[in-house]
Amino acid sequence: MLTEDNKRAAFRALQDRIVNGEGRASPEQRARAFSNAGLSPPLDGLLGKVATRPTQVTDADFAPARAAGVREDELFELVICAAVGQSARLYDAGLAALAEAVAGEEDGNAP
């Protein structure tokens, strides 16, 4: 059993703020950007790249969203949600692997 530390709690607070707090993009859009699921044009290309191939993002990836009238403050929020969402999945995957590795060793030597 792993205990939630201050670092994890601070990350959860960030995650909760950007997805559920006040914003210019709707909470539903932010949740989809965060989970990189259920996205449709003109946002799916840009936000998918932010999550999985960020070095390939170019100016052209922003163009369809701008042309469709998505405002800059919405793009700001949705790109952040996509980036934090992918990081959250990595964080969760690492913690799950650690929990599995120490399962059954609760009386072992690890602090």
Binding site: D5, A10, R17, D59, F76, A88, L90, Y91, A93, A97
Partner: protein
């Protein structure tokens, strides 16, 4: 940066702060700092709190170790801005440029402790492949790394997987070597808050 709001959307307080930073450092304000000051109630304040906790909060890892992890994760993500920034910060923290260069060239042969080496390998795999298994973690633990240290390293990994993506997506300008050195000096003196 690719969004005009990140280039021009700042109030008088942030503009004054940027002017002071330019005056004191004699370098441009890094885009990472500019991002943190745009609508800080949405992202910057919360991200600074988490990143400061991960990079400067209590941990058995030294500041140099955590800055090296940040550079290593950034290298795995091929994020030029963050590699430059955190390579410089790790070098200054350790006062050992060859050690940092050796890790980023070949972690297997670099002159670091086995626990740090195993942790860096695990963070690199998680970042590149998106997953690690229990066996990867057992290798880290068997190298003498505590559970809490693994958790602390995963927090660094999360912080820089976020920042790397934002640097690439928003188009952070890569600084000069002098700019990165000035930024590193600030991060070691003041942290991420």
């Amino acid at each position: 940066m690719r969004l005009e709001v990140l280039n021009r959307g700042y109030g008088p307080g942030a503009k004054l702060l940027f002017a002071v930073i330019r005056l004191v450092s004699r370098q441009p304000v890094p885009d990472a700092a500019r991002l943190a000051f745009y609508r800080p109630d949405f992202y910057g304040s919360w991200a600074k709190e988490f990143t400061h906790e991960a990079m400067r909060g209590p941990s058995a890892w030294s500041v140099g170790d955590r800055e090296l992890m940040a550079a290593y994760v950034s290298q795995a993500n091929e994020c030029a801005f963050c590699v430059g920034a955190h390579t410089a910060t790790a070098r200054q923290a350790y006062q050992d440029a060859p050690k940092v260069a050796a890790v980023l060239t070949d972690v297997d042969s670099a002159p670091v402790e086995d626990g740090l080496r195993a942790t860096l390998r695990m963070l690199g795999k998680l970042t590149r492949e998106g997953k690690v298994g229990a066996e990867d973690m057992r290798q880290v633990l068997s190298a003498g790394v505590s559970r809490q240290q693994v958790q602390d390293a995963l927090a660094v990994c999360a912080a820089f997987n976020t920042t790397n993506r934002l640097a690439d997506a928003f188009g952070f300008e890569v600084l000069s070597p002098e700019g990165f050195e000035a930024g590193a000096k600030y991060l070691l003196k003041r942290g991420y808050r």
